[in-house]
């Protein structure tokens, strides 16, 4: 195909001009390569993160709906989620994972709670007020390092428990001992003859807890060292606490529909807690945003400059095009030749741009990420400060992403090639559309 041959020759013939055009194309491509590499890698990391940890779902009573119902005289107080529902909710393909925990208020005649001063007595509406809590299947603090098993083993069967170092020491309990605990009974129920459930539990291990052993509001149940930890089966009737983690934040609506179908009352709102997620991937997303904006600006400005430059370049070649047309070359073929020249120049720039771009992408992203980190750290600290006071703990792996390994994937490659092709064509077409308007006689006779 002589058109292509001729185009290739022209690329060499017009070296000076093409080097100028080429440098601009190169600058655009190199920037785009860096930007795309960073954004695509960021996306991948964010996706991986989502896949790994999921997005926690919160199911909360809507206060406004509650108040409205009460004003309408409807019974809003008794509406709750049953244990069966909590368990049924967990059965969903939309979830990355779920954790079903339960807990019960307890007291003991033989085990003295930390901070407990007087004798067991009635209080808070109970026949005997609780002094401790028992948690089933709640291992979050072990996962995030706030609690560590120091002696023995973790419970695996019903009626096996771990207790805190402090509690063990205070009561002289060691691994293998059996302790007796009681569940609470409300005063009216006790008056009707209900007796508290009895738990005879084997201590399989002792844990260390990092939290301060200070109670709030004078209640020893709030002291974290007073928590007896076991598997969910130990306290089958106890109130369930469930945590659901979606595969993707966008699944929230579908998940809510599932819950409603399983009988979740409208008084409950179903939401996701993207805050934590954002705190972790925030820096990466921040960097991605900056890079994206930068890329778009470069692309738009670059395209404009390129179109202007190539129109000027083509105008210089008006005469040459007139000659080709006079020799009988069809407009389409002239245009094809010019487009092919543009593509060749772009192709060369693409290769150099990809090489240079991939070399500088890593240092640029490391630098950007470090800057984002600082900003994100402040926001995150504020957010978690409140949570920790309330006794809540950070979930697994809450450290923000501080390092990403930028790499050039196939998708990035394809995007860059498409963008380059588009740039070359835009520049080519802008110029071609100008030049092919003239009849050759005009071009040639103007020169005479």
């Amino acid at each position: 195909m002589y058109i292509i041959q001729n185009a290739l020759k022209n690329v060499v013939r017009n070296k000076g001009r093409n080097i100028l055009l080429g440098s601009i194309i190169f600058a655009i491509i190199a920037t785009t390569v860096v930007a795309l590499m960073i954004t695509n890698t960021s996306d991948r990391i964010i996706d991986e993160y989502r896949g790994q940890f999921g997005i926690e779902v919160t199911i909360e009573r809507n206060t406004q709906t509650f108040v409205d119902m009460r004003q309408r005289g409807e019974a809003a107080m008794g509406i709750s989620i049953t244990n069966e529902q909590f368990i049924a909710f967990a059965d969903s393909d939309l979830l990355q994972r779920s954790v079903i925990m339960n807990s019960a208020m307890i007291y003991s005649e033989t085990v003295t709670a930390i901070g407990q001063t007087g004798e067991l007595a009635a209080g808070h509406g109970f026949a005997i007020a609780p002094t401790m809590q028992m948690h089933g299947n709640n291992w979050e603090d072990f996962a995030n390092g706030h609690r560590v098993l120091v002696v023995g083993e973790m419970p695996v069967r019903a009626n096996e428990v771990v207790i805190s170092e402090e509690l063990a020491e205070l009561n002289g309990i060691s691994v293998g001992d059996t302790i007796r605990l009681f569940g609470t009974v409300l005063e009216p129920a006790a008056a009707m003859g209900f007796t508290p459930p009895v738990f005879d539990l084997v201590v399989t291990g002792v844990y260390f807890c990092a939290a301060e052993s200070v109670g709030t509001w004078g209640s020893t149940t709030m002291i974290r060292q007073n928590e007896v930890l076991t598997v969910a089966d130990t306290i089958p009737g106890a109130a369930i606490i469930a945590r659901y983690y979606l595969r993707h934040p966008s699944y929230i609506d579908a998940f809510e529909q599932e819950l409603r179908a399983k009988g979740l009352h409208p008084i409950f709102d179903v939401n996701t807690d993207e805050h934590l997620f954002n705190a972790i991937v925030g820096p990466v997303e921040g960097m991605r945003g900056i890079v994206m904006t930068f890329m778009i600006v470069v692309l738009v400005l670059g395209a404009i400059i390129l179109i202007l430059l190539s129109s000027i370049a083509i105008r210089e070649r008006k005469y040459e095009i007139g000659v080709l047309r006079a020799m009988g070359m069809k407009k389409a073929k002239v245009a094809l030749g010019l487009w092919f020249e543009m593509i060749t120049i772009t192709g060369i720039c693409l290769i150099i741009g990809i090489i240079v771009g991939s070399l500088v992408a890593q240092p640029i992203s490391t630098e950007l990420l470090a800057q984002q980190q600082e900003t994100a750290q402040n926001i995150q600290d504020q957010f978690f400060a409140g949570r920790e006071i309330a006794g809540l703990s950070r979930v697994v792996n809450d450290d923000p992403i501080t390092e990403i390994n930028i790499s050039l994937g196939m998708d990035t490659m394809l995007q860059i090639i498409l963008i380059s092709l588009f740039l070359a064509s835009a520049a080519g077409l802008a110029a071609i559309s100008k030049i092919t308007k003239y009849e050759p006689i005009k071009i040639l006779m103007e020169r005479n």
């Binding site: 002589y2 001729n6 020759k9 013939r13 017009n14 040459e320 007139g322 000659v323 080709l324 047309r325 006079a326 020799m327 009988g328 070359m329 069809k330 407009k331 009849e439 050759p440 006689i441 005009k442 040639l444 006779m445 020169r447 005479n448």
Partner: protein, 224 residues
């Protein structure tokens, strides 16, 4: 049989008011050499441009055989039907002489097998040796460029050859060579050759001489 017929042809350049050609009629036959003479600015080059199919006339008709140039694919006509030697050469200046010729053959889809050696031969005929043929047109003298222009007009073996002052930059010897080639093409190969010229020598080899004045073909003299 007329191969080219001008029928009351008028032409006005875009954006101008005055007609450069004012009702030109003529007919050209195969196997003959025509000379068009006339003052500078009388419209000779313009007329050749229209015959070359570079534009269509504002009024009137130009027929190639039976076909109106306005109706046919003029790209095809320029590529295959006609060879043009321009007054200003109109070569691709940053490319070599040989590339110019080969490109023209490629555009006209010439079925010459070895285009390059054919082009070298052709250039040789008009007095351009291989070393000169491999040089960029920019680096050729006016006369050399003119000869490259002539070779290009002949490269695709067209039936009509039009030449605007083809010998204006040539020495007497080369002029004689070129004229010999052109008259052989007409008389032996049956081409129609139209030459715009100021040269007496060119007119003297023409079968017919036409005079151009103020956009009109005024007198038709018998040539030699």
């Amino acid at each position: 049989m007329s191969i080219l017929t001008l029928n009351n042809v008028s032409y006005r350049y875009d954006g101008t008011k005055k007609n450069v050609l004012k009702g030109v009629s003529a007919s050209f036959e195969a196997g003959k050499v025509y000379a068009i003479v006339g003052k500078s600015g009388s419209g000779k080059s313009t007329l050749l441009s229209l015959i070359a199919g570079l534009d269509v006339c504002t009024d009137g008709k130009i027929l190639h055989g039976e076909n109106d140039l306005k109706q046919i694919d003029r790209d095809e006509y320029r590529a295959k039907g006609i060879g043009v030697v321009f007054q200003a050469f109109n070569l691709i200046t940053n490319s070599t002489a040989i590339d110019n010729i080969v490109l023209s053959m490629q555009i006209s889809e010439s079925n010459e097998r070895d285009k390059k050696s054919f082009a070298y031969e052709l250039l040789e005929k008009v007095g351009i040796d291989k070393e000169t043929a491999d040089r960029k047109v920019l680096k050729l003298s006016g006369g050399e460029q003119q000869r490259v222009g002539i070779a290009r007009a002949l490269a695709h073996n067209p039936n009509i050859i039009i030449a605007d002052e083809p010998t204006g930059n040539l020495d007497t010897d080369t002029e004689n060579d070129v004229l010999k080639i052109l008259s052989l093409l007409a008389h032996d190969e049956g081409k129609c050759v139209i030459i715009v010229t100021h040269s007496k020598k060119v007119s003297s080899i023409a079968d017919e001489v036409l005079g151009m004045k103020d956009g009109k073909l005024t007198s038709v003299n018998q040539g030699k």
